[in-house]
């Protein structure tokens, strides 16, 4: 799990172009949207692409992301359970 969290943080930094950030700067328990990292709806869409591309998870509706992207940890747990690659 901890490996997946680290991997995910690296991928998030890359895909969202969070220049100058390292995995250590992201608290895996903090919210990704709103306060925490301060991401927005476009970032959510980018994360949906990330999940599909890297883990073979396809979301039919952007709203499903709301629960999944609560924090990096929640996202990692969801991926662990649903990944197809």
């Amino acid at each position: 799990m901890e490996n997946l969290i680290l991997e995910l943080k690296e991928e998030i930094i890359e895909v969202l172009n969070l220049e100058g950030m390292t995995p250590a700067d992201i608290d895996e328990n903090a919210p990704l949207f709103g306060e925490g990292l301060g991401l927005d709806s476009i970032d959510a869409l980018e994360l949906i692409v990330l999940m599909e591309k890297n883990y073979g998870i396809k979301l039919a509706n952007a709203n499903e992301g709301k629960e999944i992207f609560k924090s990096v940890r929640v996202m990692a747990e969801y991926i662990k359970e649903h990944r197809t690659k």
Binding site: G20, D40, I42, E46, I48, V49
Partner: protein
């Protein structure tokens, strides 16, 4: 402004060709949304509002026999244009000054996406390279008119493009610059934007259900629609039957998010409020709202909230006719204007198809069935685009004459000054170092010198901005300086953020339409630049984007100039934004854009071959209606002409000078877009020799390079010289000594000898 009337309309959508078929199906409540047929895409599960005619069938409809290629965007446009021109009885020489303003975003993309690998790897489809941009589509459409348009331009504000074309057309009429304006928009479906919208996850797999509680998104559509608008006097003069009035309009920017609408629909509220104000009507006068109503969760909720803010608990009957046609994006403002006019003149309200259950929090429900025999006097139609480019127009029955607001008065006292300017280019950025110590490019391909953007853009915002967006924001912030927020932000860009377009297109082609990133798509629309600047500055004022090839910047300047003359705005941030990428450079190189080998001032001056050196352009200038000690210069006059004869060009110049109380001999210099391309330079030389053979020639493309927006540097260079009270020798084409204390400078710009602009700058000293 109660004297602008509509004298012709034309339309083509999935509902059919022309008004008759459209009317019949609207009244029958017949939806025209179905499977994709013409586009080869793996997203065939997404229903669309596709025009059933093939390209060949469209050609047959207009009797198309011209040599050369034509894109579907232009073909759709010409079908609608033909109908509008015929109804308005416009053909041949009319003796009227006619402007053609077309909204468009997809341009030639539907062909570019098929031939992109050819563009890069072979020469088989080279002729399509020059047809990619939006302005090229408008240019090809202009041929549908058997007479000649005096001015053409293209507006690209995504889904509100055509509505903004209506607004510019009306302003040109009010200012007396045109007698007649043909306005609207066209868009064809492309794999590119089907995939783009799909990454935003806002496409419904079922026919869309605008304003329904269970709506799932929009359906894309295609089509075109144009209106012929003119002053009542013009219509009377030429015995044209007036169909209805264009009684008001408004344009505002939501300045909230690149794709999402603000929760209280601020931009939409402002656009509707302004439209009402300019028409002299009150909310209670509106009998029907043809809503933007895309069917997405966000739009419909927020548009509804904005309507409730404007109309209170008495929201008039509302429907979104996108439930019939799908969302025709850049054409939508035209399509829905024509549908509104059909409703007005045939006394019916089209249904909001697919509606079952209202949205929680809305105090209204859309019209769920076609209402016949309804007396309609005033109709408001909304068109909103990405980046919060929100516009509203009001059409009124011909016998209605609302009293317009008197805030806009055309007088010669309304002046326009260049107050400040900032550039990022091949020269040292954000200053006037180039004026003293220019960098002389020596190659055809050139990169901009980037400043440190950290000072201008916070990291969270910068992270998803391409280079051009960063440049645009930085130059806007610098040009704005300590000025209050401008009344308008207007940007010219021939290609938009082409680097992002390429990234999305390449990924789409290479990954078989999978794993595409929404960020690249939303930043591929041309208006993302102007709206990003508005977003950064939190500026809700007028916002517009022009994409007319080599006169994209000039079009922006004209819009600002006209509105300032009308007193509609008192300040504007006007920009020209263009970027070059290695791939696009290579493609344009195939069709003769660039010099081969080393470039020098000497080789450019020889101008013995085609091609020039490429540049990037990022320039923003602040225009104000008042001058002070820091003012660069006054824009004493401006004109744009389409395919003028030399005589017409000279007449226009004389008119410009005469209006300013000047004569040719008063000109201290003429700024020319000499680029070393023999065909290009010949046109400048011929005009200068005929107009002012003794006037010193200033050039600037040897320092800033060639791009669609390069003319921005021509105006900028002239303005800097006037403020510095000196034209340095390095800007003078064949003089070796500085010219001191220049007073008046004429800037001439042309693109392929088709689009011309003349800008007269005068010293304020």
């Amino acid at each position: 402004m109660n004297n602008i009337v509509v004298t012709g309309t034309g339309i083509i959508t999935s509902l059919g060709v022309g008004k008759e078929e459209t009317l019949r199906k609207l009244k029958a409540g017949q939806r025209a949304i179905g499977p994709i047929r013409h586009i080869r895409t793996k997203h065939c599960d997404l229903p669309v509002g596709e025009v059933s005619c093939s390209d060949e069938e469209l050609k047959a409809l207009i009797g198309y026999r011209e040599p050369g290629i034509i894109t579907r965007t232009s073909l759709l446009g010409r079908v609608a244009l033909k109908e509008a021109l015929e109804e308005a009885h416009l053909s041949g020489e009319t003796g009227q000054r006619i402007a053609f303003i077309s909204g468009n975003t997809v341009g030639g993309m539907e062909k570019s996406e098929q031939y992109y690998h050819d563009f890069l790897n072979n020469c088989e489809k080279n002729e399509y390279i020059a047809m990619h941009d939006c302005g090229a589509c408008t240019d090809v459409m202009a041929k549908e008119f058997s007479g000649r348009f005096d001015l053409i331009t293209t507006i690209s504000t995504a889904c509100s493009s055509a509505a903004n074309a209506v607004i510019l057309g009306a302003n040109l009429l009010k200012e007396g610059r045109a007698d007649i304006a043909v306005v609207g928009g066209t868009e064809c479906l492309s794999k590119f934007h089907i995939n783009g919208f799909n990454t935003l996850m806002i496409l419904d797999k079922e026919p869309c259900r605008p304003f329904d509680a269970n709506r799932k998104g929009l359906n894309l559509g295609e089509g075109a629609a144009y209106l012929v608008i003119e002053t009542e006097e013009s219509a009377r003069r030429r015995n044209a039957k007036a169909i209805c009035r264009l009684s008001g309009y408004g344009n505002a920017c939501d300045a909230f998010h690149q794709t999402a609408t603000s929760p209280n629909g601020e931009g939409a509220f402002l656009a509707m409020t302004q439209a009402l104000k300019s028409s002299g009507l009150t909310a209670a006068d509106i009998d029907y709202i043809n809503a933007h109503g895309t069917g997405t969760g966000n739009n419909d909720e927020c548009e509804g909230i904005a309507m409730m803010r404007v109309f209170g608990d008495k929201v008039p009957p509302v429907s979104s006719t996108k439930s019939y046609t799908g969302h025709t994006t850049s054409a939508a403002g035209g399509v829905e204007s024509v549908i509104s006019i059909l409703a007005l003149t045939h006394s019916f309200i089209p249904a909001n198809l697919g509606f079952e259950e209202g949205i929680e929090g809305h105090n209204f429900k859309p019209v769920d069935h076609v209402m016949e025999n309804v007396e309609l006097k005033h109709i408001l139609t909304n068109s909103f685009g990405f980046g919060g480019n929100d516009s509203s127009c009001i059409f009124s029955a011909i016998h209605e004459s609302p009293t317009p607001s008197s805030s806009e008065v055309l007088t010669n006292d309304n002046r326009c000054y260049i107050q400040s300017a900032a550039q990022i280019s091949l020269q040292q950025p954000l200053g006037e170092e180039w004026f003293q110590n220019p960098i002389i490019p020596t190659e055809a391909y050139n990169e901009s010198i980037e400043p440190d953007y950290g000072k201008y853009i916070p990291p969270m915002a910068a992270r998803r901005m391409g280079k051009l967006l960063k440049r645009a924001v930085a130059t806007a912030v610098e040009a704005l300086g300590g000025h209050p927020l401008p009344d308008a932000i207007i940007t010219g860009t021939g290609l938009g953020c082409i680097a992002n377009t390429e990234k999305f297109l390449t990924a789409m082609l290479d990954n078989d339409e999978e794993f595409l990133q929404p960020t690249y798509f939303m930043q591929s629309t041309h208006n993302t630049i102007s709206s990003q600047v508005a977003l950064h500055l939190k500026c809700h004022g007028y916002n517009c984007t022009y994409s007319q090839r080599g006169t994209s910047f000039d079009s922006s300047l004209l819009d600002a100039f006209v509105q300032m003359r009308l007193g509609a705005i008192h300040s504007a941030l006007v920009g020209g934004q263009e970027e070059m990428t290695p791939d696009y450079f290579r493609m344009l190189g195939k069709i003769g854009y660039w010099k081969e080998g080393e470039v020098s001032t000497h080789t450019l001056k020889k101008a013995d071959s085609i091609g020039s050196l490429s540049g990037n352009c990022s320039l923003n200038m602040m225009l104000t209606s008042r001058s002070n000690a820091d003012t660069f210069c006054q824009i004493a006059g401006m004109d744009m002409l389409y395919e003028p004869s030399m005589e017409e060009l000279l007449n226009a110049t004389n008119r410009l000078l005469r209006k300013a109380g000047l004569d040719v001999c008063d000109l201290s210099a003429i700024v020319m877009g000499l680029s070393g391309d023999c065909d290009n330079d010949r046109v400048y030389r011929e005009f200068r020799n005929a107009c002012c053979p003794e006037t010193p020639e200033v050039w600037y493309k040897h320092l800033f390079g060639e791009s669609f927006c390069a003319s921005a540097f021509g105006v900028y260079a002239g303005a800097v010289c006037l403020r510095q009270k000196r034209i340095p020798a390095h800007l003078l084409y064949d003089l070796s000594e500085d010219i001191m204390a220049p007073k008046h400078i004429l800037v001439h710009n042309h693109f392929h000898n088709k689009d011309h602009s003349l800008i007269l700058l005068s010293s304020c000293q």
